[in-house]
């Protein structure tokens, strides 16, 4: 599915300093029943965001008007558990374009890259720095430059470089996806299939 190109993102950020946030929290299974990719943002972090009567829980950060923006900053091992791409869709649909953490689960990272959400892995120290700066001033902006592979905290000028493989970077910069690529090599795939033993 096509998504917006990603070049430079400058935005305030939403802090979620919890470790091991799994995709069941990002979007609980009971909201996976759609057959189209619409409306998942409404149920992002559903059970942390709303109580059982569907009233917003005041102490959850997405219900705090002080913290808004297109960047979500999470604790270590973000996105573990279920492979549901719906988790990445929910994050995108809610309006985030970038998730920052000191460590990402594999499948979640892949899913993000496939749908146009940039996972930015930073050092634990830099992550602390981001959290502290945001808590001091919620209006703190982060600047994420995909081309240069640098994330910067504008408030204090601290920055760090991050990794992304060249191919995925090209895709994100141009808004391409893997199927475009694979469609161009269909003939060699068919040739290969003839030779596989299974």
């Amino acid at each position: 599915m096509a998504y917006d190109k990603f070049k430079i993102l400058e935005s305030t950020a939403v802090p979620l300093p919890i470790e091991n946030i799994d995709t069941d929290q990002i979007i609980p299974a009971r909201f996976l029943k759609a057959t189209e990719r619409v409306g998942f943002g409404d149920n992002l972090f559903r059970d942390w965001r709303y109580n059982s009567n569907n009233n917003p829980k005041k102490d959850f950060v997405l219900n705090n008007p002080n913290y808004v923006g297109k960047i979500l900053v999470g604790g270590k091992n973000f996105g573990s558990g279920s492979s549901r791409e719906h988790a990445a869709w929910a994050i995108y649909d809610y309006g985030f374009r970038c998730v920052v953490s000191s460590f990402f689960a594999d499948i979640f990272r892949n899913n993000c890259l496939n749908i146009g959400v940039l996972p930015v892995q930073v050092s634990p120290r830099f992550l602390e720095d981001i959290f502290n700066t945001i808590y001091k001033n919620p209006k703190t902006k982060l600047n994420v430059d995909l081309n240069k592979q640098i994330i910067k905290i504008l408030e204090n000028g601290n920055s760090e470089s991050f990794e992304i493989n060249e191919y995925k970077k090209g895709n994100m910069l141009n808004g391409y996806d893997d199927i475009d690529y694979l469609m161009n090599m269909k003939d060699s795939i068919k040739e290969f299939a003839k030779k596989t033993p299974l």
Partner: protein, 464 residues
Amino acid sequence: MSKTLFDKVWDSHVIHRIKNGPDVLFIDRHMVHEVTSPVAFLGLKNRNISVLFPEKTFATADHNTPTKNQHLPVKDPLSANQLKALEENSKLHGISYWGLGHEKNGIVHVVGPEYGITQPGATIVCGDSHTSTHGAFGAIAFGIGTSEVEMVLSAQCIMQPKAKRMRITIDGKLSKGVTPKDVALFIISKLTTSGATGYFVEYAGNVFTEMSMEGRMTVCNLSIEMGARGGMIAPDQKTFEYIKDREFTPKGDDWSKAMKYWSTLKSDEDALFDKELVFDGNKIQPMITYGTNPGMGMSISNGIPSAESQDGGIKTYLKSLEYMNYNEGESMLGKKIDFVFLGSCTNGRIEDFRAFTEIVKGKKKAANVTAWLVPGSHKVEKAIREEGLLKILEEAGFELREPGCSACLAMNDDKIPAGKYAVSTSNRNFEGRQGPGSRTLLASPLVAAAAALTGTVTDPRTLY
């Protein structure tokens, strides 16, 4: 150059290597279910492309199917809609479809091996993280996202960088009451839920070679819970005997040819792994989890570890105990249980029902416990009846439900109510995984059986 088992299978499936990018990996077998496939099929429609190799994809309905009255129309309109979409998409693209009520229906990772779709040396993917189960046969098997499901449907390939290699070796003799599930929960408790992220794991050592195929599936199934891309075990005589004469495995000359290839599927003696871990099988005890991720597990008779003894964040750890309403240092033995769930692709196979039955035979289910016994497939269900297990279970006060994922992820009606405790043989104890507010203790079928009899966390070794 020496290669690991993982290298051998992966490298032989790479069609193209992108510099500073992923490998284009050919996929031999693709399994789909109703939840993670509709948007992928929709993508095909929008791009106006068809499925490249429909004979390499297999569809089954499992995630949101009811486990009672499967002959009746599915009540929940959203679930019914997803099931209908899978049926229609399968028909449209010529994919075999094992829907609700079909004799081959069941949980995707249970039916794959049952019908020989799962084979050594194959690359197998599915939009479900526990696809790692199929690694028990020496296949490279892992879960993918919906965008990748669309890739496999349209081009029979995915694009991923090759994972690093890890080997986990466990030798020794497992003591009484210690099952493959305990071995897996033990490993995860040592590695944490992120300890194997970025790796593909090979399990080695006599503990695994002596395990049944069902046990190996349980272990490989849980690989994902320590963050690994997948796990695998080199195929051996036991593997070949298991798959021989199954519907989709090669026959006659093809079998002999395949055997030649399969017998090369092991890590070379001097192959190098990026990481090697060794544990002592003699020391593993029956395990139970006490927190909200599968890494928070311990020997059933230990006390809940203190926050300070953890290397993770103390705040997150305490938040987790608070959710469970447990305290540091407490013993898990004797804790009250409300529900017991025997099932899922981790422990929903015939061997698991045999183990459960062995404990409850001649005894009675505790009155305050609700027990959901859900076979992983119709084939398992049939075996439970034919082996006489059903009779024993019913005499002990249990009833058998119909196959599906059920309370593993609670997309159907099988939801653990808020605040209630469930001992579950499934794979995830995340907050709300088994229903909003539910509290899950992961354990083996033996521990589940003991809890069902006593209504508390009980060491099964005291019951037989």
